[in-house]
Structures are given as C-alpha cells and as structure tokens.
Symmetry: C2
Subunit: 480 residues, 2 copies
C-alpha cells in the first residue's frame, strides 16, 4: 500500500524507474550489495513470463534440465584458452565446509562450459542430435553499477543450450529461438521488438553469430531483451563435444545458446509505464482486473459487496486473474490510484447505483479518464471484460509500435544528422560493420549498433562512419 | 537408451538405487564434487512435483517471491548468538570481481535469516499479518557423503516462510503445511507417509516445534520427506520482526518455515521401485503411457504406425502424457524393458492383429506379466486408459501402505525386542522424549525416533529406554 508520488518521467527518467519498481512492490534492494528481492507482485509477473516462454520452448522440442551452480575454475580457463570468450566478473567460492578449497568454484555466470562438458558425455552418435536443452536458473555476475531488474549481481533467467550435426542446423535453431523470443515479446509483453543480428563489436565473444531482440524504452534508449547465439564449433572444440556421423567419422558438434532474463521485467516497465506508474499487458499481468466496491454505509455495503463477490467469482471461473479489493479504511479514490499505479489493465467499479441498474463500470488503465470508461450491463459483463483485455493488449502493442516508429530515423551519408538523431532516438543507417567504425561511433556518441534488423530491403550504401561500402543497414542507439 | 542390468535390491540396495537413478536417466553426478545434474526425465518429474505443490501453496494463500542466493556472514552469526540454530557446513564466497571481499558471503543453506531480515522491513502492523511467502530456490550445504537426490551439495527445494501475530496462528500454519505435504505425498506420490512431531533431539534447532512426514523405503529405512517448523519467536527476536498490535503495543511476530526438496524424488524411487527399475505414480509420471508399435515388415508398419499415431493423438488431446516410441533399430522387446525400467505406468502394445481386431493391449507396470495385461477395444480405449491410470495410482498407494504396515511393529517394555525390530523394520513404542534416552538408543541401534505420530490413541506407558513415564508413542527406525 503506497500513496507516495512517483517522480515524473520528464523530470528524471531513471528516478521514475526506481520509484515504479519500489512503490508498486515489484522488487527491492537486498541487504547484499547489488542483489534484489523479487517481491510477490514482481515474482507473479515473472511466473507468467516463465509460463509463456516455457510453453514455447516445449512446443519447439526442448526439454528442461538442471546443471550445477558451481563451475570448476579450470572450465573457465579452458574457455579462455580456446577463444576469447565471455569474461564477466566472477563470484568465487574458496571455502567449503570450513576448509580452503583446492579447486576454487566459480558461481555460474552462464553455463556454456559446464553444459558443454556434460554434452560431451551425453552425445556419441548422430542419433543423439539434435540435443535440445533448457535450464531455468539463477546466475551471478559481479556488476559494479546495478539497477533493479536491469543489472543485478544475481538474476534469474533461462538459458537454452543445444547441439547439432551441422552449421545449418545450428543456425536454424538460433533463428528459431530468436523467433520464439520475438513472438513472446510482441504477443505476450506487447513490446514491438526488432529482431536482428549483432555486429562483430557487439556479439557474444564466444559466438559465430549473435542475434538479439531490441526494444525501445520510454526514454528512447534501447534495451537488449533476449539473445540467441550460434556458437559454431567454439565450445565443441574446447569441451570435445563430438559425434560419430553416419559416415562413421568423428566430428565436432555445432552448438547454440539463447537466454532471456528477469531483465525483461525492466523492459515491460519502461516500454509501457507512464507518470501514474506501471501499465501491464493483460496477458502477463498478475492481476488482470480489480474490482473496487463503492459504498458509504452498511446498507450500501450489504448491497454492493455480495454483487461484487458474485461478479468476482464469475470472472475467476472464466479464467480471469481477478482481485476484489475489500481492504477496509481506504477510500475508493485511494484504491483507484493504487491499482492504477500497479498497472492493473482494467478496474471494475461497482457502487449502489450499479447494483440498482444491474450494471458495472469498466475503466481501462491504458485510456485515462472518461474516454476509458464504459457502463456495461451486468449480464454479459464477464464476456465484455474478456474482450476488453484483448483490446487493451492490442492497443498497448499498437501504442508502443507508434512510439517506436516515430523515434526511429533513417539517415544516409550525413554523420552530423546521425549524431543529432542519437541524442533523442534511434538512427537507421548503412553500416559497414567494421569494429573500428563502431568503436569511433561509440566514443563520439555513447551509442553502438543495436542490430542489423533481419527485416530489411536488400541494397547497398555508404557506411555512415567510414563511407565505405555497406550492404546492410543497422540500428544505432544509446542503450541500457 | 540402456540395456544394462540393474543390481537386484536384495543383493545391494544402495547399488540398486544408484543404478536406477543413473540408468533411467533421472540424474547423474556432475564434474563438481557432490553436485548433480538433473537430466530431462528427472527434471520433468520434478516439474510435476513442483506444479502439484505450488498449486496447494497458492490455494492456501501463499505467494511466491525470490530472495538472494548470498547471505552476509553476519546474519548467520546473529542467528548463532541468539539461539543454537542450524549449523550446516557452508560454502563461502570470498572473492568477487577479482577482489577479496571485506564482507564474506555465504551461499544460502536455507533462508530464515535473510527472509527474517526482510520481513522486519515488510511488517509494521497487525494488518500486515499473516505474511505468507514461499520461495523456489537452490540451496547449498557442504555435505561430505553425498547420494543423488538424497544428499547433494546443491539441491532444489521450496522453502515457505510465514509470520503471524500469535503462537496459535503460527502453530496452525505449521500444521496446515504439514497437512499439505501429507496430502501431496499420499495423493500425488502414492507414498503413505506418517505425519508427526519431531523429538527434541531430532527437531530443527531453531524451532519450538518441528513436524515431519516420514516415508518407508523399500529397504525399510525411513526417509524424512518434508518438514514444517513452528519457529516461535526465535527468528523474530534475532531479526527484530515486530508489529504494532491493535492495542498499539509493539510485539514480536511468531514465524514458521517449511520445506520439501528434490529429496522427494529419492523417496518416490525407493518407495515404489522394484528389481526392474522405477515405478512412477501416474499423477507425477513424466510419461503416463507409452505406445510401442509392433511390426515385422513395411506392410505391417504401414498399418500399425498410423493406427498408433491416431491413438497417441487422441490420448494427447485427452490430456494424457503420452509417448509414441517410433525409435528405429530397436526390437519391441527391448522397448518393453526400457520403458518398464523407466517406470512408465502403462504400456500400450499395438501390432498388426490389434489393428485388424480394432483393439489395443494395455499392460500395467505395477502388475507384471499376463495378469497386468488387458485387451481393450480401440473405441473407448482412451477412456479405459484414463481409468487405468487412476486404478494404478490407487494400487500403488495401497501396495506401499501394505508394505509399510507389515513392517511397523508395536513393542512395549521389551528393549531386546525393540532392538531386534530395528534391524529390519520400524518400532512403534512409548517414548519419554528425553534427549539422553534418544542418544543412547541411537548409539546402540543406529536408529533415532522419526516422529511422534499425530494420529495415535491417547494413553500412557513406560519409555522403551528408561522405563519412565511416557504419554506418547514414537516411531523409531534407521533412516536416510
């Protein structure tokens, strides 16, 4: 319960974000530096995200498994020896059972190494391929500057790990899972992400090809919301993941990995939130509709509450995630604001007159004030509410798409214009993909290429930085 | 795929257990000492366990949340200062981001301390009570002797943590969750556990009252399968979890905690398994029925496979977790053995004659050979199979109950008989509950009291050890 004010976005976007996360009870800082406590409301949102992703993973043939939290230090050294891999800052266990450990254990920052080691045991023949595994887990990266959901020492995620017989199979899997992430973001989170390929500068160092979905936040900065990597044979060579092919030859596998984390909660907050607080897409909202009964005395109460309870029960039976707010000592107005702040898509108001008229009021979170309100006959109100949730889901996606499209600016052969765009939007331009060009753009603009969007017309132009030949356009933006 | 033989239980029960876990692909040892990899088949079983528990937690008003993996060392010291608490061997992170840490971080062995610290911030008034939280998480205890699922360095579990205004409320919650565990074990896992209270010797050191559900394994040893603790005000005092009551007085809360872990997988294996391998209760089995098509040539194949596919699709649509085994190069006999070993409750055999007769064969895993087989008309076979799953679930519970009851022996005033019983069964006897008595029984028999069963006739007798007055009977057994 909170009546504290949320800092307006225009005043301080970063402060707005933290206010929203804390005041809506999504999460809070833990007594351990950089770690977070995911509170029940935030965790319920994460559970809905998990369910929707997990369903898609299983539908595409993946199985869940669980691998150890601790990774022998030597595994990460092996990764380093074989290729310039991922080198996050690590948390290291050096004491176990009161004894100094001979072999230090790293708390997993990601599991390519230990899963690669395991795959080498599991895979013998081409018949064992493809091997399609996913893990739901916590991981730890020793970040210095942390922000709730966006960057924390420990976070929750899923990491997919697969092994294939050929490059083509691995590439197909990598793109399939990018598609799954895109579908989830667009159709569940109502975030019109742009799927694309990462540049050499921005890709996962252990990968051949990295793909990403990029989302535009309310401050027009980009948030990488999910990644999918074709790891080529890098990990297969480092961990001897091999199979005997139909021709009886021993060959290295081709592997992939792909992940989405609690960071997506940050994306949902910033893609949809407004100065009143959260706006949650109905398909993921822990509470899809809240009923606020309105009464001034016991007589009114005894008419309104049973009416509200009956409607609540009907909605629950129809599968709507419904909350009936019977808290005492709080005014309806306070409750309206409270649930608005918490982003519940629909508010149902029921007062004595509604009971008399056998009707209810439905108020949309995404359309403020009168225009968002409708009086609905009680009969058929549950069906109308279900429709409304679908309409809101579509409207939120449309609104985010309009905002995104209004803030992506094509630019050609004009570096000054490009720089101007990057101050308050995304630039879409020809880019040669060269690491040096990217490094210089980064230094000069605090912005990097977010991706080469997959969906673009073929063509050719001049790189925005070096003027050399470019065959693909990239999106550039400042990012989280 | 494995045609290796499983060691018979009579030869070496412990070896039988490990064979079953590894050869049925439930889990395997990890390249980190004492840690395990939960393989897809084992993880699917765990997911079904989670779903059934989680539903019950939510139905009883609990919400999930997530707290940090790392606990400041000082929290555990505070626990120690306040009362003789839980003191498992710990894994300690001393290096973060390449630097020696000033404040060492313990990898959580359980979360009473950090959740207690958090509850102190969340709770102000009696209106905030009860606070009913659950967490699904991994925990680490530096065990020296480990066994897959039963005792591993890292394991997965859920830990419930609640805060209440009064002792009575906390005790009611403690018993409610014991009831949830009992209901789950009996009705989902088909394990006839005995709920009861732990003795002073065996209780969680930080608790006022500890309760447990005790299960009998195939070797007649006991396995503690879930615990529920009334923590009194111990943690509330250590972490200042206080609330302002209606009378405006600041009071300490009463807290509880309760947990069930991946250990329950070990219980399912040992409560039901036989020399052929696993036997999984239908309600939790990842695969409830497997269809093995039988054919000798392409002509037969082209009749049998479409028939099997149609049946598989019908079962899937009816919500049965079905597997159609179309693996090539393996004989039907090999497949029969393979799925039998993996404990799939029903095998469906479909051969050319079945197609002709428009029938299928249903074979029960729990009833070997001819008596377990039935020929069923194809029309209505899906409904028959659904019924059969219910029958098997009930039969497995009944069979485990018969075994349990045959191996629990009441005994009074005869320590020699008591000792003899403990060599190969459970003894049910009067027990004064004294720590010294229990210590001596333990030294002399390698057995401790498992619990004072809740369900017992009131009465009075002489303690089996000291002969002093005893008002409750306890179960004694050797245990895992």
């Amino acid at each position: 319960m909170s009546s504290q004010v949320i800092t307006p976005r225009s005043e301080d976007y970063s402060r707005w974000y933290t206010d929203v996360v804390q005041r809506t009870d999504l999460a809070d800082y833990a007594p351990v530096r950089g770690c977070m406590i995911i509170k029940p409301y935030g965790y319920a949102l994460w559970e809905n995200i998990q369910a929707q992703l997990d369903r898609r993973f299983k539908d595409t043939g993946h199985q869940n498994a669980y691998f150890p939290l601790f990774i022998p230090e030597e595994f990460l050294e092996k990764e380093k020896e074989n290729f310039e891999g991922f080198s996050p800052e690590l948390a290291v266990v050096t004491i176990g059972g009161g004894q100094e450990l001979e072999q230090k254990l790293v708390v997993r920052p990601t599991s390519e190494t230990i899963i690669g080691h395991t795959f080498a045991n599991w895979i013998q023949s081409y018949r064992d391929l493809p091997l399609l595994i996913n893990q739901w887990a916590n991981v730890v990266r020793w970040e210095m500057r942390t922000r709730l959901f966006l960057r924390t020492l420990e976070f929750l995620w899923q990491e997919g790990h697969t092994a294939h017989a050929t490059f083509e199979d691995a590439e197909e899997e990598t793109l399939r899972m990018l598609g799954v992430y895109t579908d989830f973001a667009v159709n569940e989170a109502a975030i019109p992400v742009i799927p694309g390929r990462k540049s050499e500068h921005e890709k996962f160092a252990g990968a051949m090809h990295s793909y990403t979905i990029e989302a535009m936040m309310g401050d027009k900065r980009a948030l990488q919301s999910g990644t999918s990597h074709n790891l080529g044979q890098n990990f297969a060579r480092a961990f001897e993941i091999r199979y005997t092919d139909e021709d009886n030859q021993l060959k290295h596998c081709w592997t992939t990995s792909w992940g989405m984390s609690t960071r997506i909660v940050g994306a949902i907050i910033m893609a949809h939130g407004d100065d009143q607080g959260l706006r949650l897409p109905p398909r993921l909202a822990p509470i899809q509709a809240v009923i606020v009964p309105i009464f001034k005395n016991d007589a009114e109460r005894s008419a309104v509450v049973p009416f509200a309870e009956a409607f609540s029960a009907e909605l629950k039976a129809a599968g709507v995630r419904i909350k009936l707010d019977l808290r005492e000592g709080l005014s309806p107005g306070f409750k309206f604001n409270d649930w608005e702040m918490r982003g519940v898509p629909v508010r149902v108001e029921i007062g004595p007159r509604d009971v008399q008229n056998h009707s209810v009021v439905l108020a949309r979170r995404d359309v403020p004030g009168k225009p968002g309100k409708q009086f609905v006959p009680r009969d058929g109100a549950a069906a109308r509410l279900a429709e409304l949730l679908v309409e809101i889901q579509a409207a939120m996606l449309e609104s985010a798409r309009t905002f995104r499209d209004a803030n992506i600016h094509p630019v050609e052969n004009d570096y000054a214009a490009f720089q101007e765009i990057l101050k308050d939007g995304w630039a879409y331009t020809w880019f040669c993909g060269d690491k040096d060009c990217e490094e210089r753009i980064k230094d000069e603009n605090q912005a990097v290429s977010r991706c080469f969007p997959l969906d673009q017309e073929p063509g050719e132009g001049q790189c925005i930085k070096c003027g050399g030949k470019a065959t693909r356009r990239a999106l550039f933006a400042r990012a989280y």
